[in-house]
Amino acid sequence: MTRATEAPKLDKASSPATLISRLAKRSIFRNTRRTLLTVLLISCSLAAILFTDAFVRGMVETMVEISTQTFLGEGQIHRVGFREANDIDLYIEDTTTLYQQLNTTTAIQAFAPRVLTGAMTSSSENVASAIVYGIDAIKEAQVSKLKLAVTQGDYLSGIDGEIIIGEQLADLLEISLGDRLVVTVSEANGGDLSQALFRVSGLFSFNERNMDIGMAFINLAQGQKLLNITGVHEVALRLQHLHQAEDKSLPFWQTLNNDQIETLSWKELVPQLSSMLAMTKYSTLIVSIIMYILVCLGLINTMFMSIFERQTEFGILLAIGTRAKQLFYQIMLEGFFIGLLSVTVGLLMAFVLCYWGSIIGIDYSELEMSGLTLNEPIYLILDASSFATMGLATLAVTLIASLYPAFHASRLQPSFAMRKTL
């Protein structure tokens, strides 16, 4: 049987490297189904790792935002020792200078001064303890979500006698809008009891039990008067960018810390959240390592199946003069091509999944984690550096997984590999 036309002349490349590369490329598609299954295994693993990474990034950002934007702020200023002792006598006296300093610091977008104390709240029906905050209504709205959290009635307007309380505290005290509420506190610098009568002007809900049952807000001036102080206990900060809270080398962190006042970032204010987030990142690493081990084992299995099937062929290649090193490179190249294909498919899959997750978001409504209620969907965050790093890591893993089969193939004795063929 002959063909009408002569076979085309081969390419001009004459190096053994070209030959090895050609053999490797063709060999990976010798068993297309097996190769595609392997590619699917690796690419799905890569996509899963990147999806997990994007999800964790989204979750971390959501949790930090919920934590800082709800009420905490990205940083807080206190009198030195206040947080440890929770002593209302330790307040910041020279607020004028501090406010000037805060107004001139470009990294600070807004700030909200507060006084706070443990108080007894009494209605005609019941009594409950709560932390009463005296706040500057306008500044507070620029820093926290208190104004947005008001579900009934009105936010504070600056008039004496206004108080807004959590819905659950209102249920406990069996009161509603317009009802009277007596707040009893200890005055600073002496401890005399001080009482004031308020009317409930608004109810709020942060969807977090501790806040909704344990907090009440009055105007700053009335709070100062109630506590018999002129300063503030706390100044919550809203920074221009969230990452500034983590960058302690920024100058304002130094200027706002002295022997009188201390300025702390959210990471220091809620270390349990910070630790939990760090642990989450380690979880991603552990998941990635497990995935990579599975990828490694899967690829080694595939490569060995392929090698055992082609053992005779390797024997022939070695017999006719292929060096062991060249056979080693051929197997490594096969692993590289499988890896390259898998990484390409995996990155595409991951991009589609993560992009979808970044638009639609994943709803974890009402789920509470580390004291935080995830009342907003988690939007996945695509990170180009993660895609690049994980892609390269996957390629490296496929090469590492190819090492053992490549060593095995290159160390074959031709006579053994060919068995009884010669």
């Binding site: 017999a319 003069g321 063929t421």
Partner: protein, 246 residues
Amino acid sequence: MITQVDIVGAPNKVIASQNTIIETTHLCREFGQGDTLVKALTDANIIIERGEFTAIIGPSGSGKSTLLQLIGGLDNPSSGDVFLDNKNINHMTGTELSDFRRDHIGFIFQAYNLIPVLSARENIEYIMLLQGVPAAERNKRVDRLMHAVGLEGLGDRRPAELSGGQQQRVAVARAMVSKPSIILADEPTANLDSKTGADLLDMMKELNEKQNMTFVFSTHDPKIMERAKRIIRLVDGCIVDDERRS
């Protein structure tokens, strides 16, 4: 005539003649150990001259293939030495041995053993690519050999698209393309019909006579025995007869 020559790994060894291309001395190959010890080849001493057309015959399990593997450097002897072109191949490193096989030995196997992912042309060209032969020279040699083995027009076919006879022709062309001094063939006609087998043998005989290539066959095929100038008979791993024909 006895000549003293320099031999790799065994300097000052006396070999039979400068025309000697293959020499084995006290060659033994054993498999297993203790109760399971099998002596596949025992004290084989052979001298093959350049240009001989030799058939190694014997019943199955007599050690023919083992002897051929040891001569081709595809296996390591338990004891003894193999000298090819005055070089002791047992003292070569892995890379040296690979290069030696590539440049000096052509192999033809019973089961053709072509590389399935390469076309017929690429299979023939393979060894030259390893040697780094320029494309023009490669193409010239491949064209000439394909013509010689009657495979013109089939160069772009993969082995699976060729008949057994055509595959064996490709294997013969591959074995000869690098112009080796020795061709080792393991029952090359066993899987071919008698006419195809006879044609191939005639082609190899012609190459042997015209180009003075040395052929060593392991075979049961009477057609090869008829054409062989020398027949070495093996029984139970021992050489029992060595017949030269005029």
